[in-house]
C-alpha cells in the first residue's frame, strides 16, 4: 500500500472515530464558544471596545482551544494500536500525515465555527474583501497548529501528563502561527499587504511538515 493510501486510511478512520466520540464537537467547541462569550459579558455595553477586541480574542481562543483539538483524546494511540500499526507495516510518516489530515479537517471546521461566533458576538469592524484572506489565514493556521499538536502529541505519547506537557511544547513554537494569523487581519484592516504574513504561515506549515515526516520514524523507535 502506498504512503498516501496509508495516510488517507489513517485519516478516514480518525474522522470516523471523532464522529462517534465527538471530542471536538461536543466538548472543545462548546467550551470555546463559552470562552468567547465571557469577554462581551465582562466589557458590558462598551460596544466599540468589544468590536475592537473581537479579532484578538478570536485568535487567542482559537489557538488555546485549537491545541485541545490537536491533542484530542481520540488522536492518542494506545500502545496496542501503535503495535498494531507497526506490525501492519504502516509507515510512521504516513501515520503522522494521516493524523495531520484528519486533525486539519477538524481544526478548520472548529476555527470556522469560532469565526462565525466571533462575528455574531463581537460584530468586529471587518474591512472590505475580508473573507478570502481571512479564510486563507485560518486554513493555514489550522494546518500548522494541527501539525504542531500532532508532533507534540507524538513526543509525549503515553505520558501521564500528555496534554499539559504537549501544550507547553506547543505554546512557544506556535508563535509564528499566532503572529502570521493575527497580522493577516491587522494588515488587512490597515490596508497593508498581507502576502508576507501568508508566506510566513505557508513557510511554517512546510517546515512543520518536513519536521514531522522526518521525525516520525525516530520518534516511533524511541518509544520502543
Amino acid at each position: 500500500m502506498s504512503f498516501w493510501d496509508q495516510a488517507l486510511e489513517v485519516a478516514r478512520v480518525d474522522l470516523r472515530i471523532e464522529r462517534r466520540m465527538g471530542d471536538v464537537l461536543r466538548i472543545v467547541l462548546p467550551f470555546a464558544v463559552v470562552a468567547l462569550l465571557v469577554f462581551p459579558l465582562a466589557l458590558g455595553v462598551d460596544l466599540p471596545a468589544v468590536s475592537r477586541l473581537g479579532p484578538a480574542v478570536f485568535w487567542a481562543i482559537g489557538i488555546l482551544f485549537g491545541m485541545q483539538v490537536a491533542l484530542r483524546q481520540t488522536a492518542d494511540d494506545r500502545p496496542e494500536r501503535r503495535d498494531l500499526y507497526a506490525l501492519l507495516g504502516v509507515d510512521p510518516s504516513a501515520r503522522f500525515v494521516g493524523r495531520c489530515l484528519s486533525g486539519s479537517v477538524l481544526m478548520v471546521g472548529f476555527l470556522f465555527v469560532l469565526l462565525l461566533a466571533t462575528i455574531v458576538l463581537y460584530s468586529p469592524d471587518l474591512p472590505d474583501g475580508w473573507p478570502a484572506p481571512v479564510i486563507a489565514g485560518l486554513v493555514l493556521t489550522a494546518i500548522g497548529l494541527t501539525e504542531l499538536g500532532t508532533l507534540a502529541g507524538e513526543v509525549t505519547s503515553g505520558l501521564r501528563n500528555r496534554t499539559t506537557l504537549a501544550s507547553l511544547i506547543v505554546a512557544p513554537l506556535a508563535l509564528p502561527l499566532v503572529i502570521g494569523a493575527s497580522q493577516t487581519l491587522e494588515s488587512l484592516a490597515r490596508d497593508a499587504g498581507i502576502l508576507r504574513w501568508l508566506i510566513l504561515l505557508v513557510a511554517t506549515d512546510l517546515a512543520l511538515t518536513v519536521a514531522g515526516v522526518a521525525l516520525a520514524r525516530p520518534l516511533e523507535e524511541a518509544s520502543r
Binding site: 500500500m1 486510511e9 478512520v13 496496542e80 494500536r81 503495535d83 498494531l84 506490525l87 501492519l88 507495516g89
Partner: protein
C-alpha cells in the same frame, strides 16, 4: 559477534533486553527454523511477553545480536519484515471505537490486502453474524476471534502467541490451532508462550523454559 545459519526465521545470539533500567532478558541464544512450533513456558514475570515483543521487533535489544525474518534487530531493516509478523498479545489489538468488521477493514486496507477476504475470514472464526458489534460491547473471546480473522488474512511468516489460549472456549482455542497449522503449513514458524505448560506441551515440538530472563531447555 557472528550470526550463524541463514534460512532461520529467528536467530538470537547472547541477546539482552532492559526496560526502564531493569534487566528483563539476558544471554538469550535461539534459532527457529521455518515450520517449527516453539513453546516457551515460564512463571509470571519471567520475561515471556518481553521476549515475544523482542521477536516482534517491538522492543530493541540492548546487547547481543539477533535477526528476525532476516532483519537485524534494532535497525531500520525491521520495517521491511514487520508486516510478516503476527502477534496475539495479552490485550487484543483492536480499536475500541470501531466495530469488529471495521477493525478488519482498517487493518486489511492499511496492509494493502483485499477487503473481499473479510467475509470469508469472519465466517471461519464464526463472527459473520456479530461483525457489526462494537469492540466495547464484545467479549474477550470475540476480540480474540477478530484477531485470528486478521491473521488468517495476513498469513504471517512468524506467528507469536502470548497466552493466546487464556479465557477462550474450546472452539476459539481450536481457531488458534488452525492459525498455527496454517502458519507452519506455509513455511512459517510459531513461538507460543504461556505460564501453563499444558497448553504448550500439546502443541509445541520443542519446549524451552524462561526463568529470570534466561532460556533453558526443558528436561
Amino acid at each position: 559477534m557472528r550470526l550463524r545459519p541463514v534460512g532461520q526465521h529467528v536467530v538470537l545470539e547472547d541477546v539482552g533486553v532492559s526496560l526502564a533500567g531493569q534487566v528483563i532478558l539476558r544471554g538469550l541464544s535461539l534459532e527457529l527454523p521455518p515450520g517449527e512450533v516453539l513453546g516457551i513456558a515460564g512463571p509470571n514475570g519471567s520475561g515471556k511477553t518481553t521476549l515475544l515483543r523482542l521477536l516482534a521487533t517491538l522492543v530493541r535489544p540492548d546487547r547481543g545480536v539477533g535477526r528476525v525474518l532476516g532483519a537485524a534487530l534494532g535497525t531500520t531493516e525491521v520495517y521491511d519484515v514487520r508486516r510478516h509478523i503476527g502477534l496475539i498479545g495479552h490485550i487484543p489489538a483492536v480499536i475500541g471505537e470501531l466495530s469488529l468488521r471495521e477493525n478488519l477493514e482498517h487493518a486489511i486496507r492499511l496492509a494493502g490486502g483485499d477487503p473481499a477476504r473479510i467475509e470469508g475470514a469472519l465466517r471461519v472464526v464464526g463472527l459473520d453474524e456479530a461483525a457489526h458489534r462494537k469492540v466495547e460491547t464484545s467479549s474477550h473471546g470475540m476480540l480474540r476471534r477478530t484477531e485470528v480473522a486478521r491473521l488468517l488474512m495476513s498469513e504471517p511468516r512468524l506467528l507469536l502467541l502470548d497466552e493466546a489460549y487464556s479465557g477462550l472456549d474450546f472452539y476459539a482455542q481450536a481457531l488458534i490451532d488452525t492459525l498455527i497449522e496454517r502458519a507452519t503449513g506455509s513455511g512459517g514458524a510459531v513461538v507460543m508462550v504461556s505460564h501453563d505448560p499444558r497448553h504448550i506441551a500439546e502443541r509445541a515440538r520443542r519446549v524451552l523454559s524462561l526463568s529470570a530472563g534466561r532460556l533453558e531447555p526443558v528436561t
